[in-house]
């Protein structure tokens, strides 16, 4: 087998530790995920893989991790062809993966999670002392400090991620794959993660970093391969290319990033919360003394580290929870005790953060998901019966309008990629021309093109006069869309800022971390 590279340039230095050789993958349902993908990754580097949702990144990583076999082509490790998708492939070849959704068992201890699957044995029993020592040694060696005896589920997300990384490293790992590892972290935690990853590289581990976020790719990786629609759209050393070129490779067309012109909104506010507090079993949902107003046509962005009370805030204005104290009024009506049904009747629409459990039913069709909740809509119903023809027509129109990519509208929702699911949910929620839109992490984990599309629709809604509450961990998104920014920390609002040109992520940081508080 030849050790070939496809990007034209032959890197001097160590031989590629991983090479993909003409990999194609077609799924049983007909989806072509990868088409003739070839590139290689030199040892001891951090290599980024970029691309939109559905571009094939995850599939490629699943092939490398041995979860799936390629339909054609092969994977080469150290120049040797290997057959993936064999039992314990990744473990035997020293490939570790940190999944976007943690694969940890929350009720087990850190040690138990890390040794799971390859436990040191003493006879038939697990050698707990050896296991603990092994975890401590790992933790020391790679500078990832964790308490080996802590119950995993009780740790903060960033610590759980460290456990996940240690788990991935626990079997003489030489190649570490990280799938969107920063999605769950705050900016300082991201910096911490990146310096740990650089340490790992210096320890001789090759890192594959999968990300949407260009600034992160640039600050961490040395080289990048861009996938688009299952093919290699380009490869480059990051030092050689400007951002907009990578962006173009990802998108296939140039993209513009502009802050939305903040608008002065006058008149009566639509939503008024004053002195609102919320008691909750989960401390991350508790709220204290919240004052918030949103005017018609205004987008108010909520910034904050995950778990600062955003979820509690959203639950109050969607009717999922009742405040312990304070008042909530909407268009002059007292809504403190309103149900979700009543909020919706007043014109509330909600893009929830968890698409598959809160935003739709995976096992139902696109049609059914698209018309869910339109009870009594005469266009879709004649008496108790659904009007199949009219519904199909309307849903086909929605799918077209929101460019949802699907085989047919009769397919199940879970046959779509995340971005397309979110587009369909947005189509449904915005079809009602809401007066009050709650967008909770509206573009998390979805590709740039879909995100730009969703952004446009949110802005359109505001321009039609909707009051918009935007909750997001993505500060770019926050600054791009919001007229006003409120920052939450520890269940309180620590700052309310007009979104002017001098407002930067750096300026928001201290408020988000509770280092600063506006009087």
């Amino acid at each position: 087998m030849t050790d070939r590279r496809d990007d034209g340039e032959r890197a001097a230095g160590p031989a590629p530790v991983v090479a993909f050789d003409h990999i194609s993958k077609t799924y049983a349902n007909g989806t072509v995920a990868l088409r003739d993908v070839s590139f290689s990754i030199p040892a001891r580097t951090i290599h980024a893989i970029c691309g939109e949702n559905g571009a094939g990144k995850s599939t490629l990583m699943k092939i490398l991790f041995g979860l799936e076999g390629p339909t054609a082509g092969q994977v080469l490790l150290d120049g040797q062809p290997v057959s993936t998708a064999t039992r314990d492939f990744a473990g035997r070849h020293g490939i570790g993966m940190v999944h976007q959704h943690f694969s940890l068992i929350p009720t087990l201890s850190v040690t138990e999670n890390i040794i799971l699957g390859h436990e040191p044995k003493k006879g038939v029993l697990i050698d707990r002392a050896a296991a603990r020592a092994k975890v401590e040694a790992l933790s020391q060696r790679y500078g990832l400090a964790v308490d080996p005896d802590a119950i995993t589920g009780r740790l903060p997300v960033a610590a759980q991620q460290k456990v996940e990384i240690l788990k991935a490293l626990s079997r003489d790992t030489r190649v570490l794959i990280l799938d969107e590892p920063t999605a769950v972290l705050s900016p300082p935690e991201i910096n911490e993660l990146f310096s740990r990853l650089r340490d790992l590289r210096d320890h001789g581990i090759t890192i594959l970093f999968i990300s949407h976020k260009l600034n992160e790719v640039r600050s961490l990786a040395e080289s990048v391969t861009v996938l688009r629609a299952g093919q290699v759209a380009g490869a480059a050393r990051l030092a050689d290319v400007p951002d907009n070129m990578i962006m173009q490779m990802v998108m296939g067309r140039p993209v513009e990033i502009t802050r939305r012109e903040p608008r002065q909104v006058t008149g009566e506010p639509l939503l008024v919360m004053s002195g609102v507090s919320l008691a909750s079993r989960d401390p991350a949902d508790r709220l204290r003394d919240i004052d918030l107003v949103i005017h018609p046509g205004e987008i108010v962005g909520v910034a904050g580290v995950d778990g600062s009370g955003q979820r509690g805030l959203v639950s109050l204005v969607t009717g999922a929870a009742r405040p312990g104290a304070g008042s909530i009024s909407f268009d002059g009506e007292d809504m403190a005790a309103a149900s979700t049904e009543r909020w919706r009747a007043r014109g509330m629409a909600h893009l929830p953060s968890d698409r598959f459990t809160q935003g739709g039913v995976p096992a139902l069709t696109l049609i059914e998901n698209a018309i869910a909740g339109t009870d009594g809509d005469r266009r879709f119903q004649r008496g108790p019966f659904l009007r199949g023809g009219a519904i199909s027509e309307a849903v086909a129109g929605m799918v077209e309008d929101y460019s949802v990519r699907a085989l047919s509208i009769g397919e199940r929702l879970d046959s779509l990629s995340g971005g397309n699911v979110q587009k369909l949910i947005a189509a449904r929620e915005l079809a009602t021309e809401p007066r009050f839109l709650i967008a909770d992490q509206p573009t998390r984990g979805i590709d740039v093109a879909a995100a730009a599309f969703i952004h446009k629709r949110i802005v359109d809604a505001a321009e039609r006069g909707a009051a918009v509450l935007l909750v997001t961990a993505d500060l770019d998104e926050l600054l791009r869309l919001s007229d006003r920014v409120v920052v939450m920390f520890g269940g309180q609002i620590t700052a309310v800022l007009a979104n002017e040109a001098h407002l930067t992520p750096e300026r928001l940081g201290p408020f988000m971390l509770g280092l600063e508080d506006m009087p």
Partner: protein, 355 residues
């Protein structure tokens, strides 16, 4: 739509192939010791189809289990694993008998009134566990299972002290008056007008689930409870509705079984029709339209088993064995999600798309 239909056919064909394989695997060991093994298998497979009367027997067996299959489908679709349908059948039969014995005659409407009484009373068995779950989060599987026996013994007590005919040799009710009985449809069988009701009920159930707003809402609540609450659907009401409807159908099953088949009410054990209903619901993939063929299929197995027992002397319990083995095979997703199957379905869809 067309593609989905064709893909469905592939699944159906595989289901039939699996069932056939299991049938033969269980039957052959019983057939081999026999002088003519071929006749054993032929008796089982072809016997039920051999005359109109035997086909009538198949439909007769299928009637109550189509009802309970539909009841289980409705209840399960709400996301609750409510087993109250078993005692719902018992209660429905008892209540219908009581109504027929104690109430005035309503002429030709007497069976109708008795069935309605059976349905309403029978629904209690599903309503109680449902309410306990919604109000106090008591697991419905446990409460309904326990309640089944409470209802059975309360019912046997009632039968013994209020309906018992002292002149009859064992514990059974007075004779059910003739005007309360259902019309027989086919001479030589006990097939009665209940079969028509069952067929209509299953079709109506399918239309409800797939072509009405409230059916869609029920499926949303059952399969996506969190989404339902985000939509602001009245989940509790929808779940309760399903328990009431499911319980009523189970009650109807019992009422129709007793009024259609028996001279007296004589159940002193749970009749087991609810359990069979669960099997039907699983076999029919919780789709009311498929409940009818699934019930007919189990009826066919049952009649085939009767042939074995009567003509050849193989115990009819073998049928239970076959049903169990078929359930294991049919619910094995490993077979139906097998890559080769999925590939075949994909190819069909592509051909369709190309046209």
């Amino acid at each position: 739509m067309n593609r989905a239909f064709l893909a469905g056919l592939v699944r159906l064909a595989i289901t039939l192939a699996v069932i056939g394989a299991v049938l033969l695997a269980v039957l052959i060991p019983f057939a081999l010791p026999h002088e003519h093994p071929g006749t054993v298998i032929a008796a089982f497979l072809l016997g039920p189809l051999s005359s109109l009367r035997h086909l009538g027997n198949v439909a007769e067996y299928a009637t109550p289990i189509a009802f309970t299959g539909l009841a289980a489908t409705v209840v399960f679709r709400s996301g609750l694993f409510n087993l109250g349908i078993e005692s719902g059948v018992f209660l429905g039969g008892l209540a219908a008998t009581t109504a027929a014995l104690l109430l005035l005659s309503f002429g030709p409407f007497t069976p109708f009134v008795a069935i309605v009484v059976g349905a309403v009373v029978g629904s209690i068995s599903c309503i109680v566990p449902g309410e306990l779950r919604l109000r106090w989060e008591a697991p419905e599987m446990v409460t309904s299972l326990v309640l089944n026996f409470a209802i059975l013994y309360a019912g046997v007590f009632f039968l013994n002290y209020y309906l018992r005919d002292p002149a009859a040799g064992s514990l059974m009710s007075y004779r059910i008056p003739a005007d309360a009985k259902l019309d027989r449809l086919l001479a030589g069988t006990r097939l009665n007008s209940g079969a028509i009701v069952a067929l209509v009920a299953c079709l109506a159930g399918g239309v409800w689930l797939y072509f009405t707003r409230s059916g869609l809402n029920l499926r949303i609540v059952g399969q996506g409870p969190v989404f339902a609450s985000h939509l602001g659907l009245p989940s509790r009401r929808i779940i309760m509705q399903a328990q009431i409807v499911g319980g009523m159908i189970a009650g109807m099953a019992g009422a129709i079984q007793v009024l259609g088949l028996y001279p007296r009410f004589s159940w002193t054990q749970l009749p087991g029709l609810g359990w069979t209903g669960i099997i039907i619901a699983i076999l029919a993939r919780e789709n009311p339209f498929y409940v009818v063929p699934a019930a007919l299929f189990l009826g066919y197995l049952q009649v085939g088993g009767d042939f074995l027992a009567r003509d050849i002397g193989i115990p009819s319990e073998v049928v239970g064995l076959i049903t169990a083995a078929i359930m294991l095979a049919v619910t094995a997703t490993a077979i139906f999600q097998h890559p080769a199957v999925l590939r075949l379905i994909r190819r069909i869809r592509q051909v369709e798309a190309a046209r």
